[in-house]
Amino acid sequence: MTVMQFDPFVIPFNIGLNFILIYCIVRCIIWFRDLSRADKLRLQRGFFGYAFGQSLKEIFLESLIHRKILKTNFRLGYMHMSLAFGWFLLIFFGTLETDIFGTKHLNAPYKAIFFKFFNPTLGRTGFEHAYSFLMDLILAFILSGLLLAIIKRFSSRIVGMKKTTKLKLRDRIALTSLWLIFPSRLLAESFTSGTYGTGSFLTGTLGSWFASFLPTHQLAYPFWCLYSLSLGTFFILLPITRYMHIPTELFLIFMRNSGIRTGDKSGSYSEVQTFTCSSCGICIDKCQLNFSAGITNVQSAYFMKAIRSNDDVFNIAHNCLMCGRCDQACPVGIELMPIRMIQRREGDDDKDMRSIWKGFLRNRQNPLPVKTPELPSFGYLPERKFRKADVLYFAGCMTHLTPGIKNSMQKIFRASGENYYFIDEDGGVCCGRPLMLAGQDREARELINFNSEIIWKSGAHTLVTSCPICYKIFNESYHLGVEVLHHSQYIKRLIDEGTVRLKYSHMKVVYHNPCELGRGSGIYDEPVSVLAHVANLQKTEYDGKNSLCCGGSLANLKLESHERAKIAKDTVSELTKCKPDILATACPLCKKTLANATDTKVSDIAEIVAGEISEIQKKKSRISILNIKELADISWSE
């Protein structure tokens, strides 16, 4: 019998496939070109080095198996896996199939995709039959996932998701074409099988059943056309839909494994990341603005989409607590927080990026407009006052609104007998983090310089701060060459050294982990161990990385007070489920916000510890105070 080599119906598919291949290559080249020189090198090394294997492994686990999603949400994971991995298998074994059973080796891709059409009679003998059984199995696997996907679209609950992302028109078209691909293949194959009495448990049975009452011979062709057409459409639309994440993710994985990071300016990497977002919607579930405050249009998935389609993201960018819960949860590992910060820094005046075409083929001629240089904002700041000391204490603006923490820390310092200097005792200068969070780095830098000078001149070796917001910026952006500690770390150290002895109170304590301290700065253990040392610390499901935001976050400029209150209320009710005596935290802002939302006593770690300093300790400390005073008088200098 004669085997056809070509048929016009494959043209849509061919066009689509070629288009998408060329597009991806071009895109990757552009992205590569836009990388900084250092990153280019990184990528090259990464590609031809050890990282390569890493990447392949990751691609297999994440892009195909979708391990992370499976972990967080099985059904959602299975859906993604069946589609991605299933399709991969289909193509893989399809190609093999053509290679084995085809007339010659190395066939054009369409041969593999439409194998059944070109080899309708195949599949009668044992091995052939087994093989087509395998192919049917894979197809069934995909279809099961597809079924889930369709259900998810109409009721996302079933897939275990609370929210599902909203779609643009072009997404809908792409989605339908995607949905059509496999059913049309199923039918096409079934009809063909029906006509020739081939096919396995799926296509075969379905085929013969159709054949019993349908003119399968005539019906087969249109469905092969449909199959090819939907594939074509899908490929063509890919670049302007969220499905672009499929090819982009591969590139991202290589970049990441080569050690490229987002940084603080927009560039290829952040762009690749935005295109890698598959809008799976896990971030939406994690977002407290969504489930507490009922704000449902600012979550990262939407944010990424907005950036992709070049909408004005200014307000979205600022309507975020920056708690990092989504960042933590993103299965693709997109650095969501840094990307938001980039958008905040870019401000509201990068108008030339707004046009859609400039967006997709970013125009390199006119990049971001250069901001007009501004006069220094804080010229009014007074002559820097400082004092020689070993340890510096920086309470921070917020701590000045919670004197309890401030006083407790001073008590602890006295107890420790260290020669410390309270930098902002009579009202200091802001650390600069709030400005930075508002994307105003230049202004922030002025404050950083101001504070740095005081710290350097004091010649101290350690800087202790009570406010995680301050801690983060001192730690990351000051480059002081001085050890920066949050007071929870400092207290931990004093305890370990035995400098302060503490009584143990049997009070039930629950710890609320401040975002800036935990996810923000990776400090999880010290506060916990300090609390465990002085009180009966309770476990909650929100310990560690999974902690909630109090709602007070300075990072969000747009949140109304009543919305903040809602978040605080929910957080508190979650944390106080075990009816603790004290709700402990390590941040003045968290303390203030939570205290307004509950009757449970809210205390800062410092306050709890200060309350447990034993009497003997106090005596010792009095002596040491004198020492400090003397030291002070001597070592006071300009």
Partner: protein, 114 residues
């Protein structure tokens, strides 16, 4: 005018009708809580910047809403956005966003950046 040794003094009167209230309207549109200010002065009292220089958000709010933009335009730069004012405001005015929007508005409406 030299020949007289004096000139015509400018009045201090706020002329509400001829003043440019676009900044105020922009803020109100994007941050309605701006309206809720009762000028209690908590913001100014707790202000970090205010402890170093003449800077009163209370005053700026009033001036902006009257369309007296000259002082706010330059004074707003003194704000450190530290957020104490937001925490102490008895009326729940989102003061940080007010400052943020005001700066944005001046960028938007002024020929030169603030």
């Amino acid at each position: 005018m030299e020949k007289f040794g004096f000139s015509i003094s400018k009045g201090r009167q706020i002329n509400y009708d001829s003043n440019d209230r676009r900044v105020a309207e922009f803020i109100i549109e994007n941050e309605p809580s701006f309206r809720l200010c009762i000028a209690c002065g908590c913001c100014s009292a707790s202000c970090t910047a205010g402890s170093f220089t003449r800077f009163s958000l209370r005053e700026l709010n009033i001036l902006i809403s009257r369309g007296e933009n000259d002082l706010p335009r330059n004074d707003l730069k003194k704000c450190m956005l530290c957020g104490k004012c937001t925490l102490v405001c008895p009326r729940g005015v989102n003061t940080r966003n007010v400052v943020f929007l005001a700066k944005q508005a001046f960028r938007k409406f002024d020929s030169y950046a603030i």
